[in-house]
Symmetry: C2
Subunit: 293 residues, 2 copies
């Protein structure tokens, strides 16, 4: 941590949990001189300023982006294309971009559409850090410590730009992995996006019943764990589902087929098939958890 900061000026779009924690992590590592924040909500920006997450609220996108060393897009993925269109004309030659979006193919497509020949300056990223709480107040310098961050580098990225973005996430304490954008989206459709959809669906199904209170009053710890992710941000998850809908539909159909199989076993009273399915699941879940999860 000796020497001068690796990044002089950093611009963050969206100063909530993801963007705020990125800024705080780099600050804690002594790797930035100035953080400029942009966002939809003046209240959030003011809060980020008060909390020392950003040094000033940006007022001139063109100027700020032109001489920034690093730009992070940390808004819901649905807002990224508009921001890209807005900043594209001002991109300086030395600036690298990364993002914190939970889907990657759509973000890559938007970057190519808007950044055109400068798309090589964009190195997409997905930090895998819990987001049950959101907003600037939830941001922490150590949010990414020992957490995985997936980079999905593009063929047009230079080795140098990938290294710079990797380095920024590593200064935040993250373990950086690489996948292709489509690999990323398939994996996360299965292990993250589908579970969220399923959890939202279960709680919705109970909530719309006339006697929903009776049901909720007897829900216990298994329900609590299963539905914790149903308290996630609706707009963010709408965007993720839409952005990754091809892969998510594939996973959903695969899952529905699995439920159809279980339905048949249940209907027939086929205890062997049920127990076998449960047993395979339990072993896999325990093996995974045994890996320190």
């Amino acid at each position: 941590m000796s020497g001068s900061p690796e990044f002089g000026k950093v611009v963050v779009f969206g100063v909530g949990l993801i963007g705020g924690s990125f800024a705080l992590g780099l600050k804690a590592a002594g790797q930035i001189e100035e953080v400029v924040g942009y966002g939809r909500s003046i209240a959030t920006l003011t809060q980020a300023l008060d909390l020392g997450i950003i040094d000033r609220v940006g007022v001139n996108v063109g100027q700020d982006v032109a001489d920034a060393d690093l730009v992070l897009l940390a808004t819901p993925v649905g807002q990224m294309p508009d921001i890209m269109a807005r900043i594209a004309p001002y991109i300086g030659a030395q600036t690298v971009f990364t993002d914190g979006g939970s889907t990657k193919e759509d973000v890559v497509a938007a970057a190519r559409a808007h950044f055109a020949e400068k798309a090589g300056q964009f190195v997409p990223a997905h930090p895998i850090a819990g987001a049950e709480n959101s907003g600037a107040a939830a941001a922490r310098a150590d949010l990414y410590r020992e957490k995985k961050v997936v980079l999905t580098p593009l063929p047009e990225n230079s080795v140098l730009n990938v290294a710079r973005v990797r380095s920024a996430w590593e200064w935040c304490g993250a373990q950086v992995h690489e996948l292709s954008p489509s690999e990323h989206d398939r994996v996360f459709a299965a292990v993250s996006h589908l579970p969220h959809l399923l959890s939202f669906a279960l709680v919705h199904d109970l909530a719309v019943r006339e006697n929903s209170e009776l049901y909720f009053s007897f829900a216990a710890s298994g329900f609590r764990d299963f539905t914790r992710i149903a308290a996630s941000h609706p707009e963010m998850w709408r965007d993720i589902c839409l952005a990754n809908r091809v892969a998510l539909l594939e996973e959903l159909d695969r899952y529905r087929a699995q439920l159809d199989d279980l339905r048949v076993a249940l209907k027939k009273g086929d205890g062997v098939a049920l127990e076998q399915t449960f047993d395979v699941a339990r072993r896999a879940r325990r093996d995974w958890a045994g890996g320190g999860k």
Copy 2:
């Protein structure tokens, strides 16, 4: 806690988490003189003896049941009918029975079939206490403290017998509620049995893939919570699913219809419908959690 114990001799079938904690809870409250344990596994019974959960291992069912004040059936529900058949001929006039099964209509039907005119001495119960860990070693005197226990009294129960069984669970620290057996099974199909089935299904679906390691390696905290219940006991959950399959099939079909709706919204790119579903779920989940869950 003054005066003599409310229950002299208690017989427990199945001395794992549920049965063991019941015995320890009553002992801690000073409400029993002797606990006799029965079970399939000599190792578990010996362990329960070593841990002070039971005072002796039962060797003569007829003798032990005839003069017991209280009998608890705490085995997986699939084993209860056999046990009932075994003990039915020996039921003393003063003995009350309860159970710890997660389903009630099947247990009630078995009790009526086997206990016949003595079914009124059986007051069914379902303690809602987490069971991620199982076995005698996991038993604790305070497992039921401030936890709900649902009694599903039968028309043939005497008021006295219901009061005695209620009292036993209350000595363990539980909050006792009452539902009819069919109400109970419908409610728990929705808030417990279906979530378990869905969680097992998700992990199974990932575990059987050729490249399952890639998927598991990027699973994070949302996945961890959603799948915690997929580490539950396969045999126990097989029995529960089979025992409650009518209500569970209804819930499963209702849920599949809900997934079909979400699939249509996703396919059409209908962000409004998705966000609305997620929003209803999030509000309900937060309201529920706000109630101290």
